[in-house]
């Protein structure tokens, strides 16, 4: 393949940004006769060049964050350096919501108007912004767009400012004034990092915490402090046990995945460890994008070394020498803290060719997503790391045999991984004694919306949903509860008479609900469920990768049908519209490639079934 690039050249600034990431460009070889003869007949670089494709996303990030958009010249330069055809690089760049492919004001403010922020004034904020300047128009050096959930639900409403040449900032308590302050050229704001974990701040509640035990007490920027709080004792224990011993403990602990699918972690690890094919990879899925979820952000911002250590244990147990943390692009502070943690761990021999002097090699690369919910799907995440569009693969084959770069891969959610040190500390059976028979261990929940004290809460599996609400102080302002959205946009709505629901995998399943990623979005009587459902429909329509028909078109038709119901402009009767919605839900659930499409109608279906949401808000046709 010969690259065909246009004449557009990168600016010195763009080139400098790429130099910083990729090293200086290698000048072309001297055109001697032999080289001229070979021109266009051989591919130079071979495997080494092919392996550079994985740097595509980091390279696009470098351009976007330096100059605020990706120009034709900039893209050409990336293509030339990484040997990627420009059409493919454009296809990748245009897949992500945080990249802009046309000249753009240097600051872009993403204003969250997703579920939790909506319940906390995001719609009013968006209206106020509209009055200031239309969405996506240049408002004098900056612009704003509406955004899906930014994972700042505890501080809703929230916004993310992408600023060319300066670090991005993600802030809660969004207001016109706060946004103006962040976009000012001389602005000095930084991420506040005040993610809430009310239990950790409360001396009485603090002693019972396991996953959050260090949160708020440890200095997240200091490896020494982490070690002073028990850090790296679990890795020491893992080395004593040996890889097979670690997997045995994790299996005995009956640790189930916390990302939503509840797959047994021990089974996954063993399957990869047993694969003769090398290399193996381990990945921490930190692409936490389920609306209403921010627990992984809390862990990464306030206890980042715990993730680094946990992933190292996973690598040790499954025979992987290379690990990746794929973190969503909207988490600037967590990214910064993890970068620092990885760098310190490497410098002090906790990562590298000889970890802790114990004769095994392991290192971690941090990769940033760029605004794509679907990249939290494990196979889409592989594609994204490989420098391709984040389109989920068909399964089988499964990641344990054909994962990242087609190799056996362990991929776990952040929360799942940070349970592993606890498993090793307590021993598998000791850990399994916590929680219920079918759902062992502690669990993090993200409380947001109309709740008195939003934040991340840790309880043992099996606690009642009502108890969790009580922990967080109940419905804000003492108002009446209308509903709880459990598990996120891919979860379902729960009625106030279901607060006895036990928070365990089997308890949720029995109630026809799911814990999903631990979202507990509290909705009081004043909220409009129909509006929330429409936002969910918009979310899935925006976040569908577009690969398969049921999801690509189904999410569009679902939003249209809901709008018709809300506006009272039905095709046929209201019953016809509901029948159509059911049919769409079935084809998306049955025939979509991945979990995104399969779950795209779930929450809306539960709102219709349990709350009759769309007859209440729509009026009659």
């Amino acid at each position: 393949m010969e690259l065909h690039l246009s004449d557009a050249a990168a600016s010195p600034e763009e080139r400098a940004a790429l130099d910083e990431l990729l090293g200086p460009a290698v000048p072309p070889a001297l055109p001697d006769a032999r080289v001229r003869f070979l021109e266009g007949r051989v591919a130079r670089g071979g495997h080494e060049l092919a392996s550079r494709r994985t740097l595509l996303l980091p390279a696009l990030h470098a351009l976007q964050s330096r100059v605020g958009w990706i120009s034709e010249g900039g893209l050409n330069e990336v293509c030339a350096r990484l040997d990627v055809p420009p059409a493919e690089a454009y296809g990748v760049a245009s897949f992500y919501a945080l990249f802009r492919l046309e000249p753009s004001p240097p600051t872009v403010v993403h204003v969250c108007d997703d579920l939790a922020c909506r319940l906390r004034g995001a719609r009013e904020l968006v209206e106020a912004l509209e009055a200031e300047a239309p969405e996506d128009a240049d408002a004098g050096g900056w612009t704003w767009v509406r955004s899906p959930c930014l994972g700042m639900c505890d501080q809703a409403p929230a916004f993310l400012a992408q600023r060319a040449g300066r670090p991005d900032v993600s802030l809660g308590g969004a207001s016109l004034a706060a946004i103006r302050a962040a976009v000012a050229p001389e602005a000095t704001v930084t991420c506040a990092g005040a993610v809430s974990a009310p239990q950790a701040w409360d001396p009485a509640a603090r002693s019972g915490l396991r996953l959050l035990r260090r949160v708020g007490r440890v200095d997240p920027t200091s490896l020494d402090d982490y070690r002073a709080h028990g850090g790296y004792e679990a890795l020491r224990r893992a080395i004593e046990l040996g890889p097979a011993g670690v997997i045995r403990e994790v299996t005995d602990a009956k640790l189930l995945g916390r990302g939503g699918a509840a797959f047994p972690t021990g089974v996954k690890w063993r399957a990869v460890a047993e694969q003769p094919v090398r290399p193996h990879y381990v990945i921490a899925n930190a692409d936490e994008s389920e609306p209403g979820t921010f627990k992984d952000r809390l862990l990464m911002e306030l206890d980042p070394f715990a993730l680094v250590e946990s992933l190292t244990i996973a690598g040790f147990a499954t025979g992987a020498e290379r690990g990746f943390i794929y973190i969503r692009g909207e988490y600037p502070l967590a990214t910064e803290r993890l970068e620092l943690a990885i760098e310190q761990a490497r410098r002090r021999g906790f990562l590298g060719p000889d970890v802790m002097g114990e004769n095994f090699a392991f290192d971690i690369e941090l990769r940033r997503g760029a605004g794509a919910y679907v990249c939290g799907e494990e196979t889409a995440l592989f594609e994204s790391i490989e420098g391709k569009r984040g389109e989920p693969r068909n399964k089988p084959p499964f990641p344990v045999t054909h994962g990242l770069f087609g190799r056996p891969t362990v991929i776990n959610n952040v929360e799942t991984l940070v349970n592993v040190p606890l498993v090793l500390e307590l021993g598998g059976p000791g850990y399994a004694a916590i929680g219920t028979e079918g759902s062992t261990g502690p669990r993090l929940f993200c409380l947001s919306g109309h709740v008195e004290r939003p934040g991340v809460y840790e309880v043992e599996h099996g606690a009642r949903l009502g108890d969790l609400l009580d922990l967080a102080g109940g419905v804000a302002g003492g108002r009446r509860l209308q509903a709880v959205l459990l598990g996120g946009a891919a979860g379902g709505f729960v009625r106030p008479d279901e607060l006895d629901l036990p928070l365990s995998f089997e308890g949720a399943r029995a109630a026809g609900a799911t814990l999903g990623s631990g979202v507990v979005l509290v909705i009081d009587e004043t909220a409009d469920l129909g509006d929330l459902c429409l936002r969910i429909a918009r979310f899935f329509r925006d976040e569908s990768c577009g690969q398969c028909v049921p999801c690509r078109v189904g999410t569009v038709r679902q939003e249209e049908a809901l709008l018709r119901l809300v506006r009272g402009r039905t095709l046929g009767t209201r019953a016809d519209e509901h029948a159509r919605l059911d049919e769409l839900a079935r084809v998306m659930r049955d025939a979509s490639i991945c979990g995104l499409g399969q779950a795209a109608a779930q929450a809306i279906g539960s709102a219709v079934a349990k709350f009759d949401a769309f007859d209440r808000t729509g009026g009659s046709a």
Binding site: M1, H4, S6, E72, L75, P85, P86, A87, E88, Y90, G91, S94, F95, Y96, A97, F99, R100, L101, E102, D136, V145, R146, P148, G371, A372, R389, N394, R538, R541, D542, E543, S544, C545, G546, Q547, C548, V549, P550, R552, V553, G554, T555, V556, R557, E559, E560, L563, R564, R569, L571, R580, E583, L584, R586, V587, D590, A591, S592, I593, Q598
Partner: protein, 327 residues
Amino acid sequence: MSVPVPLAPPRRLVEVTVDGRPVRVPEGSTILDACRALAIDTPTLCYAPNLTPVNACRVCVVEITGARTLVPACSRPVEAGMEIATDTERVRHSRRLVMELLGSSVDLSLAGEDWERWTRAYGADPERFGARMDPLPAGERDRRRAGHHHEPEDPTVAESVAQPVTIDNELYVRDYARCVLCYRCVEACGEDAQHTFAIAVAGRGFDARISTEFAVPLDESACVYCGNCIGVCPTGALMAKREHDLRREGSWDESRQRITTTICPYCGVGCELEVHVQDDEIVKVTSPADHDITRGHLCIKGRFGFAYVGRRDERSASRRDRADPAP
């Protein structure tokens, strides 16, 4: 004298049941192969025998006992003992809905007789999602950014990919109002045939589209005009300009066309050509997808370099002129 030369080791046979009927197919076969071995009519759209299956359209889904979701027949390999059902209510529902979703958003009037038959057989009625939206201005869909769609103004019309035809070169047109995003053209342009990579899928979700970098015209892209994308397009979204023009003036008539099989005259590779002739004029050149050498793919010369044939008279006339400069 002729002894068969084995090209691959013999493959084990795997037994599965399809709709209760047992069938043995070679290991590594797909469910679609098994269905076809039993002559079960299975709708497909994105699948092409000469390309890697991408299982994107989902119209071929079947039900497997024990599986949570339906699976695509075109790409899923059979496993011993697999129980496959192709005609359950669940399968029929998903197939019909896929047909309706596509029909409500894409112009499928040139998707062929098979597609028409399947949509009738499954009772697909795309209209029930509302009338298809009017075409958007040229280039509008190319400018859409991932993750930022606007609420539809009129939800009683079905959003569609309707847009004007792109004509930016002399050899072929791109009518993306007919594009079902089957990925076939991208595969043919890239790893499955041509290795040119002039086009890719850009954008996301419903706004995903086939595009060159920054949507530049084809002649500014890496395109080498092999036309293999046209050769694999199932819906007439990509079409030779000649065919497009004849269709537009209403004179394209496949019933008046003869297909002659021959060997490409240009080089020594020996590509098989199917020359489509209407009214003594070559109107199209294709190659069979199951041909050993081409697998249906050609180069610019084989596919488009036929204009000289019709000029034989002019040419021999000019030769005569050269031989005999008098009078």
